[in-house]
């Protein structure tokens, strides 16, 4: 199976973000999104492992006209696997879960993840009712996702197969209150 460079894949998707709102899970997916350029409509998790897709769900339900892109890794999505069932039932048509799958827990020393030991998260997502589940192994797939993520034609689970190389860390802001208020301000909401 061919594998993409994580930074290239994420950058190409974000170049086409238009009005999309972005959530990242903890660890390397956050660095990838930050490396593509900080943005007021980005919200970066630095913890709460397993929660990124569910933050995305809450956001997608409250902003149904805007695409919501969640960037996370296979390790985090494994921890939040039940959330795929919750998304499958809630059926937000604007939620796009993008899992960067290197089959390892990169942040903790490159331990092999379940995704590298036979667990097929694409099949899990499809079985949970995310009919737009796909595995992306080339830039044709990235191009298709760039179009599909704006179509709001049903929740998408897109797993991008990436190599296990860990690029230089580009750290997003980790002041959660600041990032939260900045994000909300970008949507026109004041802080208290």
């Amino acid at each position: 199976m061919s594998r993409l460079k994580r930074r290239d894949a994420v950058t190409r998707l974000l170049e086409m973000r238009k009005d999309a709102l972005v959530i990242t899970g903890l660890g390397t997916p956050g660095y990838d999104v930050m490396a593509a350029g900080d943005h007021d409509s980005n919200f970066y998790l630095w913890g709460a492992m397993g929660g990124a897709a569910m933050v995305g769900l809450g956001l997608a339900l409250s902003q149904p006209e805007r695409p919501v892109l969640v960037f996370t890794g296979d390790g985090e999505q494994l921890m939040g696997m039940g959330g795929l069932a919750t998304i499958g039932v809630a059926k937000p048509d604007n939620l796009v879960i993008i899992v960067l799958n290197n089959e390892y827990y990169g942040e903790t020393g490159m331990q092999r993840s379940h995704a590298g030991r036979g667990v097929d998260l694409v099949a899990v997502a499809a079985a949970c009712g995310l009919e737009n589940s796909r595995r992306i192994t080339d830039y044709v797939g990235i191009k298709e996702l760039c179009v599909n993520m704006h179509q709001r034609a049903g929740a998408i689970y897109a797993e991008i197969m990436i190599d296990a190389h860990e690029p230089r860390r580009v750290l997003p802001p980790r002041d959660g209150v600041f990032v939260k208020n900045r994000f909300r301000r970008s949507l026109g909401f004041a802080s208290i």
Partner: protein, 180 residues
């Protein structure tokens, strides 16, 4: 196997007022893990065209959903049972680290007339666990307390950016009948 049936013999009118009170607080999204004490509110939320009801597989999902809803400018609340509080601990760091407003309604088990000893370990530390993670607990023991306490918890959560839980006591909810 014994027949499980929930008997709500005590005054249960408060159960019919929960959704309305939440809506008066501008809550539009209700995440839940089912519990008998929340059954009326959950059914009402699912049937209400102006409310988005989200069924969660575990309580921690609901915490993250509430945070995401706030990012998008909507108010959300989480309905859950005391046994689920233990599932929430690390996810509550999301609320704390970002000072998200948070409102949970927690029905109690393991504290009054409990038949199932497996409910007691978590029931005994429900409020302590929430407190350890920075969640302020408001308690209702009598039907007439529920709306006042809910309004207080909701105001502290959404006007004060606090993490708040309304604890609905087991005595308020009533005994669960296990065997006919």
């Amino acid at each position: 196997m014994s027949t499980q049936k929930t008997s709500l013999t005590e005054s249960e009118s408060w159960q019919h007022e929960i959704l309305g009170a939440l809506k008066r607080s501008s809550v539009e999204i209700i995440a839940y893990v089912p519990d008998a004490g929340h059954a009326v509110a959950i059914n009402a939320a699912n049937e209400d065209p102006d409310t988005i009801a989200v069924s969660c597989t575990t309580e921690e999902e609901g915490i993250a959903i509430c945070a995401g809803a706030h990012l998008g400018g909507k108010r959300a609340a989480l309905l859950m049972q005391s046994s689920g509080v233990g599932n929430c601990i690390n996810m509550l760091s999301l609320i704390s680290a970002c000072r998200f407003p948070f409102l949970a309604l927690v029905t109690m088990r393991g504290e009054w007339a409990e038949f199932n000893p497996w409910q007691s370990p978590m029931g005994l530390v429900t409020e302590k666990s929430l407190g350890l993670m920075g969640v302020q607990c408001f308690r209702a023991e009598h039907p007439e307390d529920v709306l006042t306490q809910l309004e207080g918890a909701s105001a502290s959560a959404f006007s004060g950016d606090q993490a708040c839980a309304l604890i609905l006591g087991q005595r308020l909810i009533g005994r669960k009948t296990w065997v006919e």
